[in-house]
């Protein structure tokens, strides 16, 4: 019994953290939103060199979660869940370059080297159709038309890993919003003192700390034993916690937080998008319930 990251896992998290903290990931996300993928693709390459794209096939879900928490914390753009979680399991191989899959729309299908869609438990190649604008401007979503079928592995396991990776991304995004909100309320003064000294602000932020603290063990518990139930629980808890973080973060920042220019907007819109990506909270709650009752 040792429910804590190992030294190797901590080192891996720290190396990703230093890589991403030094890269201007927010600028990459903003450029990606405007259709300029250069910075995001360079970042993709560097993360691939760190092994992030081969974790799903070569490491354990714990490492996958560590990586996706870091991606969420830094708002890294691109179809990471699709390319580095779902497809490696679905195809039984690491994706060289960038892949995406419809869930139900395909993220960044315009720049992907490989596009897929799962239909009736079979995996098909696909071609991109109509484009949609997401609340998160860096998420370019596309309808797809299925082509021929391809050989595939365990699509259910692929879906579960994508759900778990999305949960970990939400966890990282929520942690980032909390950290930035705490920094802000220690600086901002009103009525002659830091707004973070008022209980009204403290209690909001304490609730975010609590929600994130109890979402995290569900992520890593599911990573040790990924089942439909465990990954759905992680997704529900991380979506709730990150969403609470985003609402609270916005509220304590006041009007500046409501601007697109202020970087908080990148996480607020990302979190809103990820709450319903890879299964809505209602779908995941229904999936959990079906494993618990009426058996």
């Amino acid at each position: 019994m040792r429910f804590e990251l190992t030294t190797d896992q901590r080192d891996f998290a720290a190396s990703l953290e230093s890589l991403l903290a030094a890269a201007d990931t927010v600028a990459a996300a903003r450029a990606w939103a405007d259709g300029d993928h250069d910075a995001g693709l360079k970042l993709w390459q560097r993360l691939a060199e760190q092994g992030v794209t081969m974790l799903a096939t070569e490491a354990t879900p714990v490492e996958v979660c560590i990586a996706f928490e870091a991606l969420g914390r830094h708002a890294v753009p691109g179809p990471w869940v699709e390319s580095a979680a779902y497809l490696p399991v679905a195809l039984g191989r690491e994706v060289e370059g960038i892949g995406t899959v419809a869930a139900p729309r395909a993220l960044d299908a315009d720049i992907a080297d490989e596009v897929y869609v799962a239909v009736d438990s079979a995996l098909h190649t696909a071609t991109a159709g109509a484009a949609y604008v997401s609340v998160d401007r860096s998420r370019h979503l596309f309808d797809v038309t299925p082509g021929g079928t391809v050989e595939h592995g365990d699509l259910a396991a692929a879906y579960d890993l994508a759900v778990l990776a999305t949960a970990a991304q939400l966890l990282g995004a929520g942690e980032r919003v909390l950290a930035d909100a705490v920094t802000y309320v220690k600086q901002r003064k009103q009525f002659g003192r830091e707004i973070g000294s008022y209980q009204a602000i403290k209690h909001h932020l304490a609730d975010v700390r609590i929600a994130l603290d109890f979402a995290r063990p569900l992520v890593f518990g599911a990573a040790l034993d990924p089942t439909p139930r465990s990954v759905s629980a992680a997704k529900v808890a991380c979506a709730d916690a990150a969403y609470l973080a985003s609402r609270t973060g916005l509220q304590v920042h006041g009007a500046i937080g409501y601007t697109q220019e202020f970087d908080l907007s990148v996480w607020i819109t990302r979190i809103r998008a990820l709450v319903t990506a890879w299964g809505t909270p209602a779908e995941h709650r229904a999936r959990i319930l079906s494993t618990l009752v009426g058996a």
């Binding site: 804590e4 209980q199 304490a206």
Partner: protein, 386 residues
Amino acid sequence: MDLELSNSELAFQAEARAWLAENVPAEPLPSLDTPEGFELHRQWEAKLSAARWSVVSWPEEYHGRAASLVEWIIFEEEYYRAGAPLRVGQNGIFLLSPILFEHGTQEQQDRFLPSMATGDKVWAQCWSEPEAGSDLASLKSTARRDDDRGGWVLNGQKIWCSRAALAHWGFGLFRSDPEALKHAGLTYFLFPLDADGVTVRPIAQLDGEAGFAEVFFDDVFVPDADVLGAPGDGWRVAMSTAGNERGLSLRSPGRFTAAADRLLALYDETPEGPNRTAATDGVVDAWIKAEAYRLYTWGTVSRLKDGGDIGAAGSVNKVWWSELDVALHETALDLLGPDAELESTWLDGYTFSLSGPIYAGTNEIQRNIIAERILGLPREPKGLQR
């Protein structure tokens, strides 16, 4: 990183499960806050103790099994899963004993621990006063030095003293140095509740039962042998209890995972309809939150095994379990529909859950601690320190 139990832990789990299956009363005991229920719960403690299950984490010379933290969690999980009775000795075993082991003299340990383990002596906590609740250190009850008799004379009033209506002994803080600053000058005392000058007045709780009491002290003599820790050091000594009460010890995950399982069973037997539909998310969320609490606790145990200390994370814990407990029972009442108001174990559990966000440090105080000690937010200007 793993969640595996070792072979010896699995053997411990099997032994606990087998004994509980054999021995847990088939019918729930009457409330431990009634005289009859109190006696029956003490008899249950004696039975637990005879099989060395009452204080598994204590050393063997005091009726324990020297169980590790992991084994303690396992035992608690099995205990609640088996639907075993509430622990009438809880205040002593979970709140007082950690301090007795840490700060008590050998003589005090030998005198108090064995009867605590067997349920022979039940302990009550006496913390709050009418004017000292969340701001406990502002307490006014006094301890006056009596050199002639070699002890102290207690005066004042304590209130909301859990189990005091029927318990044998109490523990609490008294102001032994009126000149000292607020937190200094407090001393930790142990006292029999039938001592001369002690008056116990039971207070009916929301459910009508006398789960707590107010206790009056009129020139109550306490010998030096019943001072816990050094005179004047009471605040520091007491805070080791508070950390324990707010943290891991008082509310083991087994309590909530077992309650979530019972809630699922209730959901399963509730007929289709609007009550069931409306409660569905609450049922799932109760299960998720209990599972989160279980896993979170294993994380805490892992850190403690490495020599970490629970610190302010105990406040995170306390807000979580107390709000989970309320939400879980509210969901159960939602499922019961118009029968929710009728007497039932769910209603008892609901009423008890309402006290969780208040006792052991209100959740507002806990959120202050989280904000200031974990998030590092500035302290609010404090009131008088004297």
